[in-house]
């Protein structure tokens, strides 16, 4: 499944990245194949968010390369990454609090190519999340945590992406809501989107995705099918408390 010679949808190769004088990622490599759902799991501060920022080019990549469908993103500015079919749902959702739900969704489809299909995609997002239709005129800042996550995912879907990057969609939500968030992720995968999801909620996310990578202090420590990681002694001891 992995390492199929060069036809992965997303290929992250030996990537190093960080912030002003602080390196957060050390030669990270991973792949996501078309139609797959893949998780990057790891503790707080491991570099998961940094990895997604690097893929979206929000931060510079100091070493290695990232390629989408065989095309390198090396010299691609951040605002053009979405044109390659990569949409990100950022950590903490980051909706525009004083825009309405409908306006937030509209912003997700900002690209000229997406504008032409706005109505069709909006209908699709509303069919996935009927709650968003009910709340379309409400300011996003007044939504509940779970609704905000729906809105954030909907916003990313408005661009018609091939690959969806999700940064800790369950973080900061009540336990009952967390359950529904993972149901939501499952449905997104079933809709045919290729998904790369970052999570600290390891037990839950491994039930949803096909494969996962374990990231610790900026390095990939383990990888494999979800079932294999769930059964791994190291992960059970360190992260699942068994």
């Amino acid at each position: 499944m992995s390492d199929a010679a060069g036809n992965a949808m997303l290929r992250v190769e030996d990537v190093s990245a960080g912030y002003d004088g602080f390196q957060a990622l050390f030669g990270v490599s991973l792949e996501v194949n078309a139609g797959e759902s893949v998780a990057v799991i790891g503790p707080n501060g491991a570099g998961k968010t940094t990895l997604l920022r690097a893929i979206s080019k929000l931060i510079g990549v100091t070493g290695g390369d990232i390629a989408m469908e065989g095309r390198s993103l090396k010299s691609v500015p951040a605002h053009e990454v979405i044109g390659y079919g990569i949409a990100q749902v950022p950590e903490n959702r980051r909706l525009f609090p004083r825009l309405t739900v409908a306006e937030n969704l509209k912003m997700g489809g900002f690209l000229p190519s997406a504008r032409a299909r706005h109505d069709e995609r909006l209908a699709y997002v509303y069919s996935l999340f009927p709650r968003m239709k009910e709340r379309s005129g409400q300011l996003a800042g007044t939504l509940s945590g779970g609704e905000q996550q729906m809105c954030a995912i909907g916003r990313a879907l408005m661009s018609g992406p091939k690959l969806l990057l999700l940064d800790e969609p369950s973080a900061g939500l009540a336990p009952v809501v967390v359950q529904s968030i993972f149901e939501m992720v499952k449905r997104i995968c079933a809709e045919g989107y290729t998904v790369l999801i970052v999570e600290q909620n390891i037990r839950q996310v491994l039930k949803v995705v096909d494969r996962a990578y374990l990231l610790e202090t900026g390095r990939i420590k383990q990888s494999g099918p979800s079932a294999q990681l769930l059964a791994s002694d190291e992960i059970r001891k360190a992260y699942l408390g068994i």
């Binding site: 979206s56 080019k57 929000l58 500015p77 951040a78 605002h79 053009e80 990454v81 979405i82 044109g83 949409a87 990100q88 950022p90 980051r94 525009f96 609090p97 004083r98 825009l99 306006e103 509209k106 912003m107 997700g108 900002f110 690209l111 997406a114 504008r115 916003r155 661009s159």
Partner: protein, 288 residues
């Protein structure tokens, strides 16, 4: 006696209303820039001065029809706004606010000096006069009425632009969360440039309305720049609705205060009101 008094008072209130519309338009541009880019264009009124000269030159010197000259004035100041952002603001976007303030302050003095050099210090005007409009015992100045109506139309246009279009929505979005805009495919630098051109365009529109009422000279910016800035602060810097309301409050202080005492006193009272407010609500009357 008291009847005449009431009519003049009513006239001042109405004139204050007209002035409020104009001041609201002037403060809108400054607020837009601050709300979106987080930089105060201290030289905002000097951009208006440039616009006034532009209208004057195209109309009086080059003989263009007034409306066309005004359109040209708006266009020129819009481009000046974009240029101001590109060449002056962009390099200091990440700098301390005080440095950004000093840099636009530098532009203020540069524009004043350049205008003095290029146009001289003598007062210029369009030489157009309008008859006053008399309704019963009350008379209005036509340019003020034009300014009021046009300012309201300009603000309505801006409102529709900001709420109905993709770029307008992105302008509001970027003022709420700058760093994730690229995830939407939005190039923040481009939005800032468009916003600066819009802010300049509003200054240009303000110039067209002012040039109907006032003589032009290189230091004209000083007579309404500070008021515009204070109105923005009073309404909460960057808060466009707050600035709108504050403009009408301020205009009433000037107009009605001027009625009870003398014109100059109107300004004194308005500024005293401002200082008092800054003790009571330093964050502005209508904080975001």
């Amino acid at each position: 006696m008291s009847e005449v008094f009431d009519i003049f008072l009513l006239e001042s209130v109405l004139n204050g209303l007209l002035l409020g519309g104009l001041l609201a338009l002037l403060s809108l541009g400054l607020n837009l820039i601050f709300g979106v880019i987080d930089v105060v264009w201290i030289c905002y009124a000097e951009l208006i001065m440039v616009g006034m000269y532009a209208v004057y030159y195209f109309h009086v010197v080059f003989g263009w029809p007034l409306l066309l000259a005004m359109l040209m004035g708006i266009l020129i100041v819009a481009m000046a706004g974009a240029a101001l952002h590109y060449f002056v603001i962009r390099p200091v976007l990440a700098a301390e606010p005080i440095n950004q303030l000093l840099v636009t302050g530098g532009v203020l003095f540069f524009l004043q000096a350049a205008a003095t050099l290029a146009f001289g210090i003598e007062f210029k005007n369009l030489g157009v006069t309008f008859p006053p409009i008399v309704v019963g015992d009350i008379s209005f100045s036509m340019p003020r009425l034009i300014a009021f109506v046009t300012a309201l139309a300009g603000m309505l246009g801006m409102y529709l632009f900001l709420t109905r279009t993709y770029i307008g929505t992105a302008i509001r979005a970027i003022s709420q969360d700058r760093t994730i805009m690229p995830l939407m495919g939005v190039n923040p630098n481009r939005i800032f440039l468009v916003t600066s051109a819009l802010g300049g365009g509003l200054a240009g529109l303000g110039a067209c309305l002012l040039v109907l009422q006032y003589d032009i000279h290189p230091a004209i910016g000083l007579s309404f720049g500070p008021i515009t800035f204070l109105i923005c602060v009073l309404g909460g810097l960057g808060n466009m609705v707050g600035g709108f309301i504050a403009a009408f409050i301020f205009a009433q202080f000037i107009s009605v205060g001027g009625f009870f005492f003398a014109i100059e006193w109107g300004y004194v009272i308005a500024f005293l009101f401002f200082i008092g407010m800054m003790f009571w609500r330093p964050q502005g009357l209508f904080t975001k």
